[in-house]
Symmetry: D3
Subunit: 244 residues, 6 copies
């Protein structure tokens, strides 16, 4: 089975790290592709960035279907950008890491908190909590002063700041698990978990494992209504290659 | 005052119609620009289309700010595509037509129904109803077999089909007003209203008038947290011009 | 066009101020009437007061329809007293200032807080937040020690106290805009906005401008079910003149 | 113990009937007063009527406290008009019949439907369902073509029509109990219950018995914040006697 | 009338106390039986304990129906264990004390807080708040370090700790009434109320009085769907006597 | 890895079937134990049955931890009986099949319907939908006339009836996937899926695969608060062996 992790920003430095972490947890026969779009923002920290990461993400899904034979896709950004459109585009399962992480947290803990990047992304996390039906289970969203690229550039300082918010989530908000709100935190999950004292869930790893489960069961995205293939129509200008 | 209506698909045939309808309801001193992006889908009928309309929409907002001196923006597609990103991009007010239509309906009726295009777009309308806090007020979402471009190509047949769903919304679902779920229906609002027997609200007209109100009050989009300007960063590939 | 602002308490001192503020923001051709009922409480600070302001308010709406030729009504008390009954009584649009202020705040900010008068009115604000579908957008309701008449009597001290709560709403509750929870604060909006550092929305001004929009569009209150004219019947005693 | 049933319309014909029904279910030592206001509408079938019944209702509560020594109050109209204001006015318990009926239904059945009067009152019932936290338990609101006074004038035809809606609520909506949505139905509860085949709850009887329970326990309305006595202030005009 | 209070843990020391407190508030002709199951946990402080208290509770209900002629049942544990199953088993009304206490609090106060035992039981209280539709009315759940049996063993220290949390609920969370979250607190209600300064509601007393009301009205649990008698079938092993 | 499927009724006929189906989808190295409790009901079709299945279920979890070395548990009854208590009892992951099935459906479809057994179990499904945050995604719960044991006794007739409800869910309720509401339907999933025309999700298979994912990631149930080990205490009577 082949699972394609799409890191929807163009900072491909993260890709190899995500691939390595994923390979540690999948079974031997599962192949992992980790890729970034050829176009778009170097990191995703606003709705503007998020929306603009989606065209490149769609390209990667098309490539995954047409050339790479991917059996499932993981969108490795905590905003789950483009998820609903991606499910229209392919019949292979597509998971977002926010969806996967919150789902897994709710399977092993009564409540959780999200620890994520910049304060301005709080609303994104709140929308996801609402969309995935986690209002009763999410104790809090805690932001940090970390840009996505800070996590890559200075992991040690980042882990310290993240762990400090985890501690507050557990002590002040009574969270019983932590959801990591950024793909770039995947490699540090074990360290953060030791510091947090409660289970810590990383969405990339959770999503990859859920994809294995879905593929093994032969589960395909429903094409009956909402996620039917996009209607055929003309696309023009810079996006003409997106026409179907 | 200058209000820019951005029809986020590339079918510019609709633009002149929207401009003409808007000019009928604004006050004499208000200028209306109606534009479509240079890139993107010819109509929006899926999440795929919706997400891919957003880059072009952002270009139009930038152009509106930098070159056209727009005081406010209307996103003239019932999915309100890119709205949250657009609010980051400019400090001028930006309104979506779904937001404007539902808001206006709730000001003049206790309940309403949405009558919109293809069945596959139902979920989009439901998400908007939820997002705008209209769960208690929206009696139903009623879809038709109409593609967006059908409404432009055969207005008479379209109006008949839409009016039939309005009738069912009033009689079966007890709707007390109708929200038109497609920008292309704006020009036919009066006719549909006569057939429906209850107030009919078109989002383009509602949004244009609300924009006048916001601009007159000097209201600007809050830049304090969620809608702060996007972080400065590199954009690459086809989207490099989106960097800030 | 003629918009009638009904300040539903009997402290008519406020009326001229409201009219003056409204005239600053409407277009030249819009006339403003500002009136108080002939009967009722001198201010509204409890459910008791609120309910008892409604008969006088209804009289003013009848007078507006029968004698003054009002095209739209604003109920200038943050509890939106009698709003649903007023919509039965007239087919002209009727807006409450809580409704208008929260709606406008949600058009320019992702989240807001309400800053209002006495602690005992908190539940009223919470009911309105719920009724208008603003649960996800309202970060907090912050009360002060201010009686409605204090705001009129000592504006400077009032503004200081209100601004202090605005500051806490922004810093502690992460509000991105402020909704002023009392009609008497309208004249001080600009000053409070400077102190708050985020957009401040006053419901009287918002409602007046929304009324202009509704009237320009020819929007009328739906008479199809909930807001149909009250059934004809006998009224007796002190209220016999309310019979229809 | 003395329980005062206030039928907030001025059709005092119903009062004796309510008193008789109440006396059948209270214990021997409980006295029942049933009264209508001296002013207000002859029946309540709109928000307009409802709001205008409240001043007279408040008079009856004041009289109950000052002259009659009432230990608890029942507001015998399914809209629970003025309930929150009444709780400010007195420290004796005050119950609305919608509140009491839905509460009792939820104690003996997993789900219920409301069968009530005119279609235009549907929204009132829906607001009450929401306000009392019964969204998950209320299967449907079913209206009839009955005016309140029809129920008094032609009980047999009314019972037939109500029973028919009860049958549909049970068969089509899967209701497991019925809440009667009008005080005038109290005397016919037993007959309707036989026809409905599921438990039928009348709010007047439920409220009277709950009042007995509250008084026996010495329960008083909390005066700590929301329901503190209304602030002292001037009332003018026709309502000057409402000043405190 | 005979009301059976089932304290679903096996610490029968509490039973006599509950019976004595109940007898103080029921009318002379009401008999009270207070019993504990013959099997199960000595106290209930986890979901594990709660589920395991249910078989013994069911036995007590069967015994109440078959041998004791009970007219109604109170489940005297704040988790309301087994309530929905108990309603299947008997047609006599069955009330849980969490249900009764929250219902009563909502009849006399706009908002309340729950003060309960160990922190680990917080989720139970939150589930109950949600299930009984009290999300808008419950200001907070406050836990203590008290085991259920501590309340019995050292009432004075327990009351002090509970009263301290009541104080915080009133001052910090703005609760206008307190719901006692443990049956063992019934005997101390008056003392806690004096210290709290707002109405305090004990569920055992509330439930007993509501049972009197239900029985007087002839109200029976609906047997039409959800609460129909359990299907006849074989039970095996230790639980074979539970077969029907 | 060893996954223990606990079919919480005592009809062990189903166990071998569940084990066989599970073995088809797990990877070669995963062992499956399928067991029924030694005590309890022969099937689960009411809250009474559900609660009484839990003690036996707990015994099987203890046995799984102490003797069988189980790495994860699946509760194979659509009510997810005892799930929260089971999570206290062991630190191995425990999944309910309703939880797993709804979660999986939401990963591959925008909406789903549940097709389940007897009408009386509707409320159970509704509670689960609410508890797992699936209110927006669940289009309907459809019941049949099937007892659990009917599905085992006459699979062909059962499949026909289930498929008919699936068809209605797709056509009338617009479900885009089907969740099978009974463990006994697992073996017929493929056949039902062919008839339904949309993806069909069986909770046993979904849960088994999710367990593999959780165990591979080293995920353990959080022991920090709600799911901490039950407090040590005495159990008496028939349940004395449950003491800890």
């Amino acid at each position: 089975m082949k699972i394609k992790i799409i890191n929807p920003n163009t900072s491909s430095a993260l890709n190899e790290e995500l691939r390595r972490e994923a390979l540690k947890v999948v079974r031997p026969s599962t192949e992992i592709i980790a890729a970034s779009p050829e176009m778009g923002p170097s990191s995703i920290e606003s709705f503007y960035d998020e929306y603009l990461s989606i065209p490149g993400l769609f390209k990667e899904i098309r490539k995954g279907d047409a050339e790479e034979g991917a059996d499932a896709y993981v969108i490795a950004c905590f905003g789950d950008p483009g998820l609903l459109g991606a499910r229209e585009l392919t019949s292979a399962p597509v998971l977002g890491i926010a969806e996967a992480a919150m789902t897994m947290a709710s399977m092993i803990a009564a409540t959780f908190s999200i620890v994520t990047t910049l304060p301005r992304t709080r609303l994104m996390s709140e929308h996801l909590v609402q969309h995935y039906g986690m209002r009763e289970k999410c104790r809090s969203v805690r932001t940090t002063s970390l840009h996505v690229l800070d996590v890559l550039a200075d992991p040690d300082a980042s882990v310290r700041q993240i762990a400090e918010e985890c501690r507050k989530a557990v002590e002040e908000d009574r969270a019983e698990a932590i959801v990591l709100g950024c793909a770039a935190m995947a490699a540090h999950k074990a360290r953060i978990e030791r510091l947090a004292g409660v289970p810590v869930v990383d969405g990339v790893l959770a999503a990859v494992k859920y994809c294995e489960a879905l593929v093994d069961l032969g589960a395909k995205t429903s094409k009956s209504l909402t996620f039917a293939e996009p209607e055929k129509k003309t696309y023009t200008g810079m996006l003409r290659s997106f026409g179907r």
